[in-house]
Amino acid sequence: MNRRGSALIEFAGSLIVLAAVFVGVFQIGYAFLAYRTLVSAVRAGARYSSLQQRGAAADPDIAKAVRNLVVYGDPAPAEHAKPVVQGLTTGNVEIVNGPDTSTVSLRGFEVDALFAKLKLDGRPTVTFPLTSGASVTSGASQ
C-alpha cells in the first residue's frame, strides 16, 4: 500500500514535468508555425503592392486589397473569411510606400500561443522594389 502510494506520487510528479515540457514545446512550435505563415502573408502583400502601377499603391482600394491579401490570403475575400493566423485583422497591417519600394509589416499583433503571447510590432517586415513602369535609377533616361 505504502509502495503503491509512493509510486503514485512519483508518477504525479513526473507527469507535471512531462506536461510542462509538452506545453512548452507546443507553444514554441505553434509560435514558429504562425510566424512562418505571417512571413509568407506579408511577403505576398508587399509583392502585390509592388506590382501596382507606380503611384497607384497609395490608392485606398489598393491598400485595402493589400491588407486583405495579408490577412485572408485573398485581395477580395469572401464574407466570412478566416484570417491566416487567428486574431489577425486588417488593422494590424502597415503599408509604407517609398519612392521605389513597397513595405508591408505588422503592427501591434500578438500571436496567441495558448499560455504565452509573442508580441509582433514591426515584424515581420518585407520590402519589395517597384518593378513595373520606368526604371528606378532615373525617370528621365527612359
Binding site: 509510486a7 508518477f11 515540457v21 515584424r123 515581420p124 520590402t127 519589395f128 520606368a134
Partner: protein, 187 residues
Amino acid sequence: MRARRLTKLAVRADEEIVAVRRSRTHQHQRGFVLIATSIALTILLALAALGIDIGRMYVIRAELQSFTDAAALSAAIELDGTDSGLTNARTGAGRLATGRHAMQWDLGTRPITNIVTSFAQGTATPDNKTWQDQPKQAGDYRFVRVVATEPAPVIFLRVFQPLGLGSSTVAAASVAAKTENHARLIR
C-alpha cells in the same frame, strides 16, 4: 518416505524462489516511474528538437527567401549593361537589408549580413556557365542571383552535431531577370 521428503524440499525451494522474485519485483517497482519518466523525457526532448530547432530553421528560411526575392529584383532593376549598372545592382541587393524597413532573420531580430550576388548572361534563361560574382567586363549580364546564408542557432539538435558548433546553416537563393523596363523573378 524418501519421495515425500524430496517433495517437501522442492516445495520449500519453490517458496524461496517465489520470495526472492517478490522482493525483486518490488525493487523494480520503486525505480519504474523514474525509468519510465526518463525514457519519456528523452523521447519528448527529441521531439522538441524536431519542433523547435527545425521549426526555427524553417522560419529563418522563409525570412531569407522573402529577402532574396526582393533583393534579386532590386538588383536586376539596376542592370543596364554598364559597369556602373553592375555596381548599382550589387548595392541594390544589399539595400533592403539595411535601413528602417530592413528585412531581418531569426523571427525578425537579426540583420541579414551574408549576401552573395552573382551575375549571368543568357536570353530566356541564365546560361549556367556564365555565373560570376565579379564580372570583368560589364557585357550583357541580364540575370542576378542573390544568395543569403545565415547560421540558425540550434539548442536540441546540438547533440547530433560536432562539438562546439551550435548552429546549422540555412540559405535561400533567388534569381531575377532584367527585361526592358521590368524585372521579374524567374526562380
